[in-house]
Symmetry: C2
Subunit: 390 residues, 2 copies
Amino acid sequence: MRKVAIIGVGHSKFGNRNDVNVAELTFEAVKPSLEDAGITAKDVEFMALGSAGAGAWCEELIPAVVAAEYCGLKKPGLVRCEAACASGSAAFFTAYSAIASGQAEIAMALGVEKMKEVDTPTAMEWIGRAGYYLWEFHNFGLTFPAYYALYANAHMAKFGTTEEDLALVAVKNHKYGAMNPVAHFQKQITVDDVLSSTVIASPLKLFDCCPITDGSASVILASEEKVKELGIDTPVWVAGIGYSSGTANMSKRPDYVGLDASVKAAQMAYKKAKVTPDQIEFATVHDCFTIAEIMAYEDIGFCKKGEGAKLIREGQTEIGGKIPVNMDGGLKAKGHPIGTTGCSMIYEVTKQLREEAIEKSRQVPLKNYIGLAHNVGGTGHYCYVTILRR
Amino acid sequence: MRKVAIIGVGHSKFGNRNDVNVAELTFEAVKPSLEDAGITAKDVEFMALGSAGAGAWCEELIPAVVAAEYCGLKKPGLVRCEAACASGSAAFFTAYSAIASGQAEIAMALGVEKMKEVDTPTAMEWIGRAGYYLWEFHNFGLTFPAYYALYANAHMAKFGTTEEDLALVAVKNHKYGAMNPVAHFQKQITVDDVLSSTVIASPLKLFDCCPITDGSASVILASEEKVKELGIDTPVWVAGIGYSSGTANMSKRPDYVGLDASVKAAQMAYKKAKVTPDQIEFATVHDCFTIAEIMAYEDIGFCKKGEGAKLIREGQTEIGGKIPVNMDGGLKAKGHPIGTTGCSMIYEVTKQLREEAIEKSRQVPLKNYIGLAHNVGGTGHYCYVTILRR
């Protein structure tokens, strides 16, 4: 397998972006990523676009070609990748594979989602379809907070995780989000703020849920030969990607205290990267709801099953702790434009590995220079885990 | 780059398939493909699903996980690939790359589309969005027959191509479609039938247009090591894949007599496969409209620009001619379930190379054992050209 590195990254402002159309939004990420890599748009041979909502919450049905042209790419190979909320990571996998297989020298993984073009109930309906439409959504009408509330209740019942523990995840991620100028929410909150916010699906309250967000992120990859040719100073190498999936039927899950797809994808990623969980120095994990971050700690192997709440209680996932998580604010505060999230995570891990976190206050101290991105689609329907190292 | 072979293929009946849901439809292709490969569903490590209309003409928004589970796959890596009408080829490229890069040993490219869940005007609206929604579809309202009518008129004006020449393409493809038991249309037609059919967008008439079709096709790929381990008798090797794209704006096309994306993708495929156009013994090309097949002859290099009509007039693209094209009936008679078409083309090329065409009457005589699949998305917005050899 050829070695592949990330040579450039870019990120748009996340939030309500009805000030731009989908192509304009991608440009805000693509332009800085090209400048970062020191290449021009015409150098990109292949582009994989992570985007889930084309035709649903965004009117543009085939956004890849529209985005590519608007950003000045010169007729690259194109594909849009969809793996629900893991679409960005699936795009990264595809762009990576194009180079690792020797079919391209420079490729782009670009995530974009515009979810604010429709009203919130409509957006929620579309997100709710990221289960098994025919059986579960159509018959039972569960929306996403309700799905994750099932997990929260099960985890609380089995392991004694509390509503305060969940709130601590939100507080931590808002704390770091407040330091991230591209985050949707840049305001610190308290445990009391979370606990007193509106109940959405008990025990999840408004501040346990990530927002509906527009945004874009771009990652440029290159072969080892190209990295040398371009004289890239700080290539960040793709050490390994793990992937897995789960049943599409919530009713068939063996339990509701973790995501089997996360466990399997993480194990594959560790094996491919030839590292162990304790060598990982920081991570971005999929905290679409606060309970999801606690389950991720356990599923990825940062602690034993059932001990996730202990990690957040002890502050082990803050800077200075055992394993800092979501120093960009996570989905919770940075926002979760569905198809963008995987690329946004890889943006953050890359910036941290280069010791270029936008605000030094959220820079993780590094020794091994190994970071991990964990991206879930649906409620464990898809999972990609990507390990990067400098 | 690791060598990768096709080890199994399967195909559903094409047509109006409102008798099954999307998962059931994939099963009709997946099951025979697994049997053909001599493997079981659990052996598939990665699956790329070509499907364009999720959430549009089909209610299931994330079909990959639903299809994978229904077909008994055991938690593979999953991604849905969308490149408009080239989605199936994009999925094939992605599954191929996963193996060629050393990240999987066995992968599946699965195409599925259910377009008949909505009425024809709605389906046409969605297909029409496969341009640039914001600028062209929304403002001018062109649907697909109108886009291709622009090409037909330009080709006729510049090269003297006639309505009879276009009709000959339909007659040929219906002739072979009539021999293909999975084709949507299995009835021979005459030039008069075409010329006297309802005008859709002049000069294109009803019988110049491919139908709206449901269907599924599955292709299983494996690494060279796995091919040996499994003792596959007739592996069909992926010789090379070319990809390109075009402007999303019809108004920016340099001319309307060919597709630049087809030219570039074909050139890349020839280069990668180290073959020349005259070594190709047969092809499946993207005949969404009759004019598209004539332009494809030229763009792929089976004849010079402007001589496509001569090829069909002389019968050179029939069995016994210089370069037989669309021996499965093509999109025109077999049908065009958008995300499936790329995989269906590769199914056909594989069966021909194995000399297993379902009806011997449509088996191409082979010497070099090299075939080509040409799959366009939009009106040249995307193009993938795949060369296979035995």
